[in-house]
């Protein structure tokens, strides 16, 4: 029982990382209506911008992390302006946009590996002696991950429900042409969406790196399928769905480690992805016209 609770605690940490990354992907998926296969590279950007800001510019870690988050958001906006937006404006079907983002992931991941090397890196605060909290045991970094995730998700909730930008995003996610017809500046909303999506990817990447302790260029890309699992389980564009999906898959991935080798984490996430597609392809929280 104590092992179960201990693992449950780690599951909450994984779910927190997953929720940050999934909400970012789901938000962009909902607003622009195509999936970004290069998202794993955005996680890597978050990790390595933070790493460089921390080690080369000697910024304190949390300030470096903030730099990493904002810089990843900006990179996402730039990539959208330079590559994706022109294709969308030309009316390229979603079909070919997927191939473009797939190619983009190859380009970005290899560029990241060429710049920052193939070896494993580590954030200074990632390792640390565990703190016992009742039946649970976390490192300080893991506790920070949970706190950051909760704060960020609350902020996302407020953004989407209380601000004009958030309402515009939800409107575009529901019906882009109606949103445009009602006078929403869809171009501006799309750019903000990419910024927020990229920032959340960056934050997801940083927290993932803190949780796995060691990271390299492809760490985020391997995690991408777990993110897809959470997004599809939750329902595309449904950010609350993505949170629920992240919680379910995050807990399942860790708890399955009690029974089978943790080398099969990805397979557990895949089983959920398949079950979601077979039983409820529209996701736990259905989005009309998106399945």
């Amino acid at each position: 029982m104590s092992l179960f609770l201990l693992t449950l605690g780690f599951g909450v940490v994984t779910a927190s990382v997953l929720a940050l990354a999934s909400v970012g992907l789901s938000l962009q998926f909902g607003v622009t209506n195509y999936v970004n296969f290069a998202y794993g590279a955005y996680l890597a950007f978050g990790m390595f911008f933070t790493y460089t800001a921390n080690t080369a510019l000697h910024l304190p870690f949390w300030l470096a992390a903030a730099v990493g988050v904002v810089a990843t958001g900006l990179v996402a906006v730039l990539i959208n302006i330079a590559i994706l937006e022109p294709f969308v404006r030309r009316g390229t079907s979603g079909f070919f946009l997927l191939i473009v983002t797939f190619g983009l992931s190859l380009v970005l991941l290899n560029a990241i590996q060429a710049i920052w090397g193939v070896g494993f890196d580590q954030f200074p605060i990632a390792a640390g002696s565990p703190i016992r909290l009742g039946p649970f045991s976390f490192t300080a970094a893991q506790l920070a991950i949970v706190v950051i995730a909760v704060m960020t998700l609350v902020a996302m909730h407020l953004l989407l429900t209380r601000t004009a930008l958030g309402r515009a995003m939800r409107a575009m996610s529901d019906n882009p042409s109606l949103a445009r017809a009602s006078g929403i500046d869809t171009h501006r909303v799309t750019l903000w969406t990419w910024f927020i999506s990229g920032s959340l990817a960056g934050l997801g990447g940083i927290t993932l790196a803190l949780n796995t302790v060691e990271f390299q260029a492809f760490t985020g890309n391997t995690f991408l399928f777990v993110i897809f699992g959470a997004v599809i389980l939750g329902g595309i564009g449904q950010i609350y769905g993505a949170m629920v999906g992240a919680l379910i898959i995050g807990l399942a991935v860790n708890l399955s480690g009690l029974v089978i080798s943790s080398a099969y984490d990805l397979d557990v996430a895949f089983v959920f992805l398949v079950l979601a597609l077979l039983l409820r392809p529209q996701g736990l929280i259905a989005a009309r016209g998106k399945a």
């Binding site: 998926f29 195509y34 999936v35 296969f37 590559i83 022109p86 294709f87 390229t92 979603g94 079909f95 070919f96 997927l98 191939i99 473009v100 797939f102 190619g103 983009l104 992931s105 190859l106 380009v107 290899n110 560029a111 590996q113 060429a114 193939v118 391997t222 399928f225 897809f228 699992g229 599809i232 595309i236 080798s261 080398a263 099969y264 990805l266 397979d267 895949f270 992805l273 398949v274 597609l277 077979l278 392809p281 998106k290 399945a291």
Partner: protein, 338 residues
Amino acid sequence: MGVVIGYIATLGVYFCIYNIFAFGLNIQFGYTGILDFTVITFMAVGGYLAGVAALGPEQPGTDIYYVLGLSLPWPVALLIGAAAAGAVGYLIGLIALRRLRSDYLAIVTLAAGSIVYGIVGNDTRLFDGFEGLVGVPQPLSGVLNLNPNDYTVVFLALCAVIMAVCWFLANRLYKSPLGRTMRAIREDLEVAEAYGKRTFRVRMSAMVIGSIYVGIGGVLTIWFVTSLAPAGWGTGETFVVWAALIVGGRGNNLGAVVGSFLVAVLFNEATRFLPAISSLPNLIPEIRNICIGGLVILTLWFRPQGVVAERKARFFVVPLQHGTVAGSAAAEVAVSGD
């Protein structure tokens, strides 16, 4: 002299193998519109199964573990490899080809590919894990007893024959009623369905036939290099096949051949012989992957139909009263999206 011939024959073998890969992907993506982002997985399945079918039983004490080890003759191994790739294609198709949006399909294929990768890599009992299979017997090499350069020429002839058969059959498929239905589905699945086509079955046929093609290419690969390890079939390799098809021109097999030549032979294989910088051993593959990804994006921007564009179906000259309703509808649909 023998070395030069051997080198050219080596490039020729890769050309034939990538042609077969590109035909397979063309049947899935070019004909039917299935976004198979894990092409290379089928190559691996075909190669591994043909490998363990041809290898003898595993030797205790060598630390090389694998299943089967049937010592079968090479034509049987080829059939086993092709069938295994088709079977895996069927299993992935069962999930991916349900009536879902294409994003889901792409995600499922990509995810299934990395699951296979993880299982093959982590489970050393299957195909010796990340170490991979080694010493797979080459067809006829025991009978012919040639030096490696001459053997490469013989092997090239074998590959060329298999490639020619694959090309012929792929062209036949393109013109057949099944092929027309595939293209109708590519253009609009709902219209094809409204005309009573069993879209799931047709898409599944394309998925399985394409997987078998790629599996045959995988068998030829493991015969040629005599070994196969997971490092040889990452996502980057899938993208080489995609790049070949997109650059050459999707939907037509001549385009697949041109693309295989331009991307897989001239670009990809030729750069393998560039001198590596010893301090940065990964730089050349990284630059190659960046260029291939960039090449696809640029092609989709500047010439989305590829170097050799698919010929448009001439539906205006088909008098409506001659064809059956479903037949002319398929032709009509095939035109509309070009």
